[in-house]
Subunit: 401 residues, 2 copies
């Protein structure tokens, strides 16, 4: 099977008027690949952020929370490094994150709290800060509004990603309204330490308060529907910026477009999955409530036995149903029905006859759909998960040493 | 690396006076390997059981619970099949489990409730009951008290096990007191569907009530310390029998010997781990209480990133500590200290200098010790986990198709 390669998005971050970007190789990665990315707005623009809930939140996450609070949600620039997460690095790490912001702020002559920082890579190793700072200088010199500059930015934020992850969509009716986003990360069983960085921007005129009101919900239906709740890495960061150059659009339309772009980015994370061969959408219907549905879907998505069966195109549905049996949230297990790729395989406590070879063939697909139906109530959930194959072990067993 | 092969135990089930066993190939497994095991006591003997908490408990589990209740915890025989779990099989499956018990009861002329049944293998497929019943007939004919018969029993209960799992120990001071046990199963990330069957027996004169009083605690410190709590398969079964031919022993001694044999069997399950290369004991100290300690250890043990790092002998401790950061049970994360194979790697929020090559070399061991220390309280826990390698994917992606 040839490696998966998504078609490029129509637009990237620099397609939005007033944004410039750059990506350079600062020397943080031993490979010499790009590892320092910079995004700069011509003026301070509204920005909202959603961050990891991990108690060991990395230095750049602490900095972002602080800076967004102090700046009132106005941002001039975002500097990102890959190859080192600057996590579990103590006061030295905090100082390094601040120096990154200060270097950018000095060059742009803006308050330091208008600069945000994100990092991803190995945990517990101090940043080579001199390399980082001279990388920032080179990125500042390379800033451009060309489409290529947006892609340079994207390349420089990646770590184990197998392909670039970008998405964009115009608003259906607004004159110039556009949403573009990039992200990095490879969704996994428990993506708790697989940093997810996502940066979305729109040219719609939206306030910081409005962005911050929307972003948690957008993340919940996209990135948090891959990265199962409460399994946050030390560095997870999602930022949403609004440049304001376009005409206002109806709220519902703006939100739907943002949701669509975010969900596509999340799909790309699940599709990568460090060796994944497909994206499986686990849909739960008829749970007690939405929270119960989500917990059940997450339990199934987290099972290594479920995920290896998906990798092997094995319609071994007992692994799916018996995992539902482990969920405290289920009220009446006897009502459970299981449908795999539109093929009913289990109902009323008994297997249904089906063609295993045909079911296996149906699983050889970019998108697999697993439907688990209960009769407990109106709760629904839809989570995306990647399968677990040999390549996952290879990537994760040989990452730092 | 040559495949792991544990030394045989000194004794097996048939070493206990009054027990006979057999193992035959009934044709349930396509491979033709042994798949039908029978254990028979000369007279009804006390027995206790601990079973899966999965809501989709398999037919044989439901039968065992019912029979133990109705027989007052007295058992004449145990029949086990591998190759098919008889789970998610509805009323037909229930009838099949009962017919297995009836066949044995008829041959032994005992009440059907004195026969227990266990099954392990693929879920959601009806048992080939005619093959099973004629297999039972052949097993009845083959019953023997030879040591080899105990090993035949063990061979016939295995599925994906890479090696036989047996353990035994004499009581330190009792004249003839002995504990012997066998089990099957390969501990995994979420061993929720990796059926664990364990059968322990002693010749001590212990009542059903005493056995049932002890068994949950024994299981908690052994099999439940591998099979992380609440991740039970549809078929998990642990039985403890007492033949009563030996002289009484002090309670503390009897319990310590039972615990030791159970813990050794659990270690063997973790060591197998469908491709595992070692057993990692995750020890948490200083948690709020024991329950919190166990939850934290389980969270670390379940992470695929942690387990692939263990497979790769990668001292990438950020994966361990950041997973602790995801635990709601932690009160003060700043106190966290992490020690890997006696090498301190993290304390007070910062990495400690250590020799990575030496640490990696120290991880190339049958037993790896990961110590996570907090300052929240007196809580401690010790869980055993297997690492996650290529072979795990191979075994689990290609199991049924």
């Amino acid at each position: 099977m040839p490696p998966f390669s998504p078609p490029p998005a129509d637009h990237t971050l620099t397609s939005l008027r007033g944004l410039r970007a750059a990506g350079v190789a600062a020397g943080i990665k031993a490979s010499g690949n790009p590892d320092l990315a910079l995004l700069v707005a011509d003026q301070p623009i509204p920005c909202a952020g959603v961050f990891t809930r991990n108690r060991l939140a990395a230095a750049p996450v602490l900095l972002c929370r602080d800076h967004l609070a102090r700046s009132g949600g106005l941002v001039r620039a975002l500097v990102v490094n890959s190859g080192n997460a600057n996590a579990c690095t103590g006061p030295t790490g905090d100082a390094h994150a601040l120096r990154m912001a200060q270097r950018v702020a000095a060059a742009l002559a803006c308050p330091v709290e208008q600069v945000l920082v994100a990092s991803t890579g190995v945990i517990g190793v101090q940043l080579p800060i001199d390399l980082v700072l001279s990388g920032i200088d080179r990125a500042l010199a390379a800033l451009s509004s060309d489409p290529g500059a947006g892609r340079d930015f994207l390349r420089a934020i990646q770590t184990t990603d197998a392909f670039p992850k970008e998405a964009s969509a115009p608003l259906p009716s607004a004159r110039h309204g556009l949403v573009a986003g990039v992200c990095k990360g490879a969704g996994m069983i428990q993506p708790n330490m697989a940093t997810m960085l996502a940066f979305l921007a729109t040219d719609l005129p939206l306030s910081s308060a409005q962005l911050q009101g929307w972003l948690p919900g957008i993340v919940d239906q996209s990135f948090n529907a891959v990265h199962v709740d409460s399994h946050a890495s030390t560095n997870d960061t999602c930022l949403l910026l609004a440049t304001g150059s376009a005409a206002p659009a109806p709220e519902a339309e703006a939100l739907a477009t943002l949701n669509g772009v975010a969900r596509r980015l999340a799909w790309l994370i699940a599709r990568d999955g460090e060796g994944a061969t497909k994206v499986t959408t686990i849909e739960v219907r008829g749970a007690r409530d939405d929270q119960a549905a989500r917990a059940i879907a997450a339990r199934v998505a987290q099972s290594a036995l479920v995920r290896t069966a998906l990798f092997g195109n094995d319609p071994n549905w007992g692994r799916f149903t018996s995992q539902v049996g482990n969920c405290d949230e289920v009220l009446d297990i006897t009502a459970l029905r299981c449908t795999l790729q539109q093929i009913p395989v289990f109902a009323r406590g008994e297997p249904l006859p089906f063609d295993r070879a045909a079911a296996s063939a149906a699983m050889k697909n970019e998108d697999v759909h697993l439907l688990l139906e209960l009769s407990d109530g109106p709760g629904t959930a839809s989570l995306m998960t990647s399968d677990l194959g040999y390549r996952y072990v290879e990537v994760n067993a040989e990452y730092t040493t």
